[in-house]
Symmetry: C2
Subunit: 214 residues, 2 copies
DNA sequence: TAACATAGAATGAGCGTTCAATCTAGAATA
DNA sequence: TATTCTAGATTGAACGCTCATTCTATGTTA
């Protein structure tokens, strides 16, 4: 806001800021009205610029949607990377998981994340972004789970690990829906039970023992 | 289709059929374009009637959305009731669960279900329908889980049971997202691992033992 | 001056919704 | 039986509005 500097903000950084300003406004509108219910007029009003000006930074509305989706998934990838970076110890994973659970239980964020998956179910461009991010997430989680299992003396096939990754993902992604379907849920109790479920998941029998189980 | 009767099809049943015709077309449109992307014109075209005629059966578009939501949740309630009706034995629950898992993994159905939850996050009318259905589901599941736990010798507080219900719900609802985020997942393997996870869930320690666990 | 940032009106398409007009088929009448 | 009446089913054009997008004109800055 000050211009005492020789070049307070370069063209590039100014443009980036404008872009972010639009994305921020768009995220809010998409949360409140959905991708198709939010109009360029509303987004531009909240972003504090004219509708036409939006088109200097984004080709069209779908490009804004794609950017929002990519931005949201980036935060997911960060979280997954944190799982991996944490020393590969069971306790550390489970502790980090608690933070993840709490984050998933924020209803505002949940609304947008669900909107994204719903859109992915019908919009190929969004589907591609989502699918590619999911591949990365699964790869990371498979490494973490594989590590822990190996330390516990298990010898699992990749397919077995993949199955566990899917269940772990179910637990986290299911929370997005729970916080909307049951807004009054007891966050602490749920976090506790999810932690136990993850612990149990990491203890599931290997494939050989699997056939004889049920 | 024959009119040998005095009144082959009453006004009421004909109207009900027309209503269902509209709902069927609407479900398809909503799946393909989302609640806001689907237009009355498209719905009426698929339903095989004029746009104006739709308004003889539904007050407005939101009423159609509400009806679709209610219809979808009704099938959920049926599934939950089946859980309860099945003899309250662990094995029976887990076997039924497998059917539920498969059903949740159908990508077409998943798209509409996710659209509904996303809409519930911002549309109070839809939120109310969803919340009320969820209360019923949780009540039923709590009874089933409570029964099983009691037979296994556990004494749980209602809050503890509620926590387990939430985790069970996470597993099922998470599948809706998994089938879209990872369309190539191995359905059999996932079903197997989910079954084990549910079995473990029903074996989680009670509250007294909980503090000393991690 | 040259180049870019920005505004805001203009455009044409499509939206949800309404409504007067038409069709249809059984009841009433002759 | 032949004709008219009637009420609901159904149509499709029209309405007012909002949409995404484009275009032209006006700052602004270097």
């Amino acid at each position: 806001m000050q211009n005492t500097d020789t070049t307070p903000s370069t063209d590039a950084s100014r443009a980036a800021a404008r872009r972010q300003q639009i994305l921020c406004a768009a995220a809010r509108c998409f949360r409140e009205h959905g991708f198709h219910g939010a109009s360029i007029a509303k987004i531009s009003a909240i972003a504090g610029m004219s509708p036409g000006h939006i088109y200097h930074y984004f080709e069209n509305k779908e490009a804004i949607i794609a950017a929002i989706v990519a931005q949201d998934l980036e935060s997911l990838l960060e979280m997954t990377a944190q799982f991996r970076a944490a020393c590969n110890v069971r306790a550390a994973l489970i502790e980090r998981a608690a933070e993840g659970v709490v984050r998933q239980l924020d209803p505002d964020a949940a609304g947008l994340k669900l909107e994204i998956v719903a859109e992915a179910a019908r919009n190929p461009r969004v589907a591609q972004i989502v699918n590619e991010a999911d591949i990365i997430c699964r790869r990371e989680l498979a490494i973490v789970i594989g590590d822990i299992r190996r330390r516990s003396g298990h010898q699992d096939s990749p397919a077995a690990i993949d199955g566990m990754v899917e269940v772990l993902a179910c637990l986290f992604e299911g929370l997005l829906q729970r916080t909307i379907r049951n807004p009054g849920l007891d966050r602490d109790k749920v976090t506790q039970r999810i932690q136990i479920a993850i612990d149990d998941l990491l203890n599931q029998p290997g494939e050989d023992a699997l056939a004889a189980r049920p």
